[in-house]
């Protein structure tokens, strides 16, 4: 059975390759390349897989899942400038794909065994753009 919990955080970022020119950066990243940064209301959907406990009828305690998401993702990232404040994004471009992978890496240790295994991370940068990571390796 799959169980999905949603969390939201707002953060600023920009996407640039320092060795490339302004024109090249614009071509690759569009307006995301603006050097002073801009923000998004990120929505992350975390899906875990497990079976309901025969006694309690739950896969895992949703309050505990919320605590993990808050502690590992929302509290560190909410109202932050990803490039400047959140490792590894001093050195890694905080594209939607890289941010989704970082979220997967941060959550995976907490959902790596019974009762619930991490199954999918979906990160919405906007309503029109999201990245999915599905499977076991975090892509």
């Amino acid at each position: 059975m799959l169980l999905t919990r949603r969390a939201e955080f707002s953060a600023s970022h920009f996407c640039r390759i320092p060795s490339l020119s302004e024109v090249e950066n614009r071509e690759i990243f569009g307006e995301e390349a603006n050097l002073n940064g801009h923000g998004h209301n990120y929505i992350v959907e975390v899906t875990v897989e497990g079976e309901p406990d025969p006694v309690t009828g739950i896969v895992m305690d949703l309050k505990e899942m919320k605590r993990i998401l808050d502690r590992e993702i929302v509290e560190p990232m909410d109202h932050r400038f990803l490039n400047l404040e959140i490792p590894p994004f001093q050195d890694v471009i905080p594209t939607t794909a890289n941010l989704a992978r970082e979220i997967w890496r941060r959550l995976q240790p907490f959902f790596s065994a019974s009762p619930a295994m991490l199954s999918r991370v979906r990160l919405y940068e906007t309503a029109d753009l999201y990245v999915d990571i599905v499977g076991e390796d975090g892509a």
């Binding site: 996407c15 390759i17 071509e27 690759i28 990243f29 569009g30 995301e32 890694v92 471009i93 905080p94 594209t95 939607t96 794909a97 890289n98 989704a100 992978r101 309503a127 029109d128 753009l129 999201y130 990245v131 999915d132 990571i133 599905v134 499977g135 892509a139």
Partner: protein, 160 residues
């Protein structure tokens, strides 16, 4: 697997009517969608792209490049059009949302190698919502740039 999904919107009109069916059969099969004057929808199109994340750019695909590709090869052809009259494949194909999804998939597949053939990004899924209550999805079972649709879909598209 990692994938990126981009959502687009376009408005178009259509009329569902099959010349292979009688008028009473058309009315029965298509209901209100058989209205002779047609009607329109605000379609939502989602394109999902798979592929490795480039170590240099952190991207599966450049979003501005994907946007201009979809604009050029899909949206420009269908947005604010009468599908039956303005979009050539529907001269002989009923513009159901199933068929529209297939036609859009064929447009994407046909032009993908020219735009993204030198990258490892590949189109993985096409999803088309006709309304909030009707949704159609086509998965392209793909590996690298060499991808094939299933037999049913290939057969349908051979008439496009």
């Amino acid at each position: 697997m990692i994938s990126l999904t981009r959502r687009y919107q376009f408005s178009a009109s259509h009329r569902l009517h099959s010349s292979a069916l009688s008028q009473s059969e058309n009315s029965r099969v298509y209901g209100k969608c058989n209205n002779p004057f047609g009607h329109g929808h605000d379609y939502i199109l989602e394109i999902t792209v798979g592929g490795p994340v480039s170590p240099e750019t952190g991207l599966i695909i450049s979003v501005p490049a994907l946007d201009s590709f979809v604009e050029r090869h899909v949206l420009r052809l269908v947005a604010h059009r009468n599908l039956n009259l303005d979009v050539p494949p529907f001269a002989h194909l009923v513009p159901t949302t199933e068929n529209l999804a297939l036609v859009i998939t064929s447009f994407i597949r046909r032009h993908w190698p020219d735009s993204f053939g030198d990258s490892e990004a590949y189109p993985y899924r096409v999803r088309l919502d006709e309304t909030d209550r009707n949704r159609f999805e086509i998965f392209l079972p793909v590996s690298g740039a060499n991808f094939a649709l299933n037999t049913y879909t290939e057969t349908a598209l051979s008439h496009v």
